[in-house]
Symmetry: C2
Subunit: 390 residues, 2 copies
């Protein structure tokens, strides 16, 4: 227990891999979500029947190889919601990692263990994945910098896929400096020196969040507006966040079903009920519903292209509330889950990069402000985060 | 392992309870399906999250108390499909008990462990429960005598309920003599000396079974006809066995959902995917569908009353095929599951007593012949079984 005070590492031998002797990430340690291959260690995927059904990888995932080559050292693999299907971080097989910023609350998921160990100071940064919010939500709940990069910008090789049209690899850090160093190492380019000069505030996003969250984030928005200038309040989703959310949900759950169906069919794996139910509902999405949702995704992409010309960023609350308490019931969590994804759905729908900025609390628990930029503006967002935290 | 060669007993201290000094079941040992309370031992229900959520019972179930008072001794509790939701006996939490009669095949379920230990000669008889076929199916697959009693005839106190309008407690034995002794002890009356004098052969049931099964059962039907006399071939389900099966399935899955919903909501328990999917589908049965299925159940009851006046029994194949191989995929098992319940659905729908008679094999694996009598004719069926085996 003293070796894993966060209950965040997968049991067994730690996947500790020393990085290159010298490099831009020299001296930094990182943890790896157990969805991402580390050669010689099983990729458990947060589900005992996944681990049993899959061979131990013989190669590192691209992202792990990249970080090691830049002189960062891996210290272990971290718990995840079952095969990344979850947003809260409660996994009945591995237990719920601690949220060090709010110990009676969930850490958020599915990159739960990675957020937990960074927030707990166990390592400098940690890798997660984000399909529907799996980096952004735990970053908000644990008070961390966290990025969902531009879809496709970070090589997904060696990572357990869920919904390939929305899957991304991201990371967490406690401070903007480390966060930016990792971004530079991943993308192989320095942070830009000039910042965007136009800030869109997503009025519908702030209205959708709990009023206490919107109020707590106001000073952060003001600071951002001072930094960027030219603030404009706009509607993000003219059709409604709930309508976008439904499209994203249909696309993501049906894609997850297609991804996992062969494994489910062959192994009849064990899942927490709520996870199996979502997979079952994903199996029931019709072709007509999927086509309609795909059309709406096209429109959401057009909307974000329109709102985000070069040198513009947009901000919205990352989550509509801070982390829920641990151990709530399935029905108590049903609407909160949907509300969270109403704010995060734009990531999977449109594929733009998004960064969570920490710094606000409600009832003592962290809640974050997200910034979203044009596609490919990942390093710019990291530069904004660094300037914001300065 | 040598202490549990059938992989049929729940781990931990064996629930061994000595029966009364003397009585009608003196010298007999029995096992108890882990859905049935034995004081001082957890009722695990085949699911780790059920066991965790429920206190250790302080009283024996009525049936256990009854058997102990008749001088039988309990030797342990046996594996079951998760909270009795399964018909094949494959449980990913506890493993699959051995089918000693066909080791490469499933034992049948949900009373899998009880059938396994009786077939393996570990004890004289064993308790199961039968809602949709959970005694009859493993009896057929393991080559045992097994009874689903008249609904309501055996007190259900202290037993984990699934669908109260269909739940029953039954038992397995290798020989008809022991089988009948248990019946006498449970019902507190001797087996009748006179047998029924009219035999209905369910023509649609035999046509629905695999031709090899119908052929293998023919000598058993002939022996039964010789024993009973006055054989008539009749259609059991004029609407169709598949139509009855659908009604029973809607009633049973929606009842199971109502039974387990509070637990599922509070604990988000782990299930094998196929179990969670069935519960999810059960949650989606509409009131209109349930009303329609209830009306059909009334008609099925009327049909069985019409077919089964006093001194009449009906026979049909217990299962349409012998036990499937172990480890088949979810999709490979989908239709076989439905086919089995097309033959077993009359139990839950109409509530009549039904006894599996062993004695036939197909490809070396057992398959049983069922006899069904009027409500309350449980002891008569046991007498027929004894005469049949003589």
């Amino acid at each position: 227990m003293s070796e894993d005070p966060m209950n965040a590492f997968v049991p067994g031998p730690r996947a500790a891999i020393k990085g290159a002797e010298t490099g831009p990430l020299g001296g930094l340690t990182f943890a790896v979500k157990d969805l991402i291959d580390v050669a010689g260690f099983p990729t458990g995927g947060g589900n005992p029947d996944w681990e049993r059904a899959h061979p131990i990888p013989t190669r590192h995932a691209w992202i792990v190889e990249r970080l090691l080559s830049q002189a960062a050292s891996a210290i272990g693999k971290t718990h995840t919601d079952e095969v990344s299907l979850g947003i809260l971080g409660e996994n009945p097989f591995s237990g719920t990692p601690l949220n060090p910023a709010a110990p009676d609350r969930v850490p958020g998921g599915s990159s739960s263990g990675s957020a937990s160990v960074v927030a707990g100071g166990i390592c400098d940064f940690a890798l997660g994945t984000d399909t529907g919010g799996s980096v952004r939500v735990p970053a908000s709940f644990c008070g961390l910098f966290g990025i969902r990069p531009t879809h496709g910008a970070v090589d997904f090789t060696g990572v357990l896929a869920q919904a390939p049209e929305a899957d991304t690899i991201g990371w967490f850090a406690r401070d903007a400096e480390t966060f930016g160093r990792v971004a530079q190492a991943v993308f192989g380019a320095p942070l830009p020196t000039s910042l965007p000069n136009r800030l869109i505030v997503a009025a519908d996003g702030f209205a959708f969040a709990d009023p206490a969250v919107a109020a707590a984030l106001t000073p952060l928005v003001d600071r951002l507006a001072t930094l960027i200038g030219h603030r404009q309040d706009r509607i993000l989703a003219p059709q409604g966040l709930s309508v976008w959310q439904q499209a994203q949900r249909q696309l993501q759950t049906s894609a997850a079903w297609r991804t996992f169906q062969p494994w489910i069919d062959a192994y009849n794996p064990r899942f927490a009920f709520a996870v199996a139910r979502n997979l079952t509902l994903g199996s029931m999405v019709t072709d007509a519903e999927r086509l309609r949702a795909t059309l709406m995704r096209e429109e959401a992409r057009a909307r974000l292209r329109m709102l985000l010309p070069p040198d513009t960023i947009l901000c919205l609350p990352t989550t509509p509330f801070p982390a829920p308490k641990r151990g709530l019931s399935v029905s108590d969590l049903a609407l909160p889950r949907e509300r969270i994804s109403a704010l995060t759905c734009l990531g999977g729908l449109a594929g733009h990069p998004q960064v969570n900025l920490p710094g606000a609390t409600v009832d003592g628990a962290p809640v974050g402000l997200s910034i979203v930029g044009p596609k490919g503006s990942d390093l710019t967002l990291a530069a904004v985060a660094r300037a914001f935290a300065a």
